[in-house]
């Protein structure tokens, strides 16, 4: 367990995509909250780009909002 994880109750990893990817790869992240917007963009920065690690997830919660956003909340299986 890292010192940061011992000190804080919850750490919100705001981003960006690169840091997120590293913390998932290092098995330090516990939860993923991904919000999906109702748009197909075709390009841009991928949240999980080059993660090169297969990771099983446990779905905890789904919230759909009126504006069409869907928030998916997963626990990272360790």
């Amino acid at each position: 367990m890292t010192p940061y994880k011992l000190l804080a109750s919850n750490v919100w990893l705001v981003g960006g995509a690169k840091l997120t990817k590293d913390l998932i790869r290092l098995n330090l992240a516990d939860e993923i909250r991904q919000s999906i917007l109702p748009i197909m963009l075709g390009d841009g920065i991928s949240f999980f780009d080059q993660i090169e690690k297969e990771q099983a997830l446990h779905l905890k919660n789904v919230t759909a909002y009126k504006n069409g956003m869907v928030e998916l909340c997963y626990e990272i299986k360790k």
């Binding site: 999906i36 075709g42 390009d43 997830l57 069409g68």
Partner: protein, 191 residues
């Protein structure tokens, strides 16, 4: 006019890989209902060959798992169109081979009486999305990060705006997201 619906599984990081998918009884039942409300499936070559290599053999030799065996019979009987420039012939029953995607042909298919048309190949979904002829998207997000693979939305050139219709959560952790295309040209004819 019947609907053209893009229905596909993907991982949370947006890859299509059938080996990464959970296909339990609940998921099979979901797809059985979906196929019961369809009378045409459209595939590209790769997905078609994957399906052709598996489901007819399940019809001949049922697995004993009812939802899976029911799915095999449904997909065996339904009309299938496969788009490919390289395939010479198709051996699966009720299957038609077409070389080119022609927008007018697909629009005419939509105008024929019948149940919904489903498209289930990544490359074909992108091609048809760019022709503005997909009415609905049903994306089943699997609870997995794959890290690498075939990205579903790789070749989208023009941004596509969608309207969320509903979500459906499965016991295995998959979440189906239902979207309607907001493009006017798709909908004003039948509403």
């Amino acid at each position: 006019m019947r609907k053209l619906i893009a229905a596909i599984n993907m991982t949370l990081d947006g890859f299509c890989n059938h080996t990464a998918m959970i296909a339990d009884d609940e998921i099979h039942q979901h797809y059985n209902e979906l196929l019961s409300n369809a009378d045409t499936l459209i595939y590209g070559r790769i997905t078609y060959q994957l399906m052709e290599s598996y489901w007819p053999s399940v019809v001949k030799n049922p697995t004993g798992n009812k939802p899976m065996d029911d799915f095999a019979v449904l997909i065996d009987n339904i009309s299938k169109i496969v788009f490919s420039r390289t395939l010479k012939n198709v051996n699966w029953k009720n299957t038609e081979l077409k070389k080119e995607i022609i927008k007018e042909e697909i629009l005419e298919l939509k105008h024929q009486a019948g149940k919904n048309i489903f498209v289930g190949s990544p490359s074909l979904i992108v091609a048809l999305a760019q022709l503005d002829i997909i009415d609905e998207y049903q994306l089943a997000v699997q609870p997995t990060i794959l890290g690498t693979g075939l990205p579903l939305f790789k070749n989208i050139r023009d941004r596509v705006d969608l309207k969320l219709l509903k979500t459906k959560t499965f016991g295995c952790g998959a979440v189906a997201l239902y979207y309607e295309s907001t493009k006017e040209c798709v909908h004003h004819e039948n509403r």
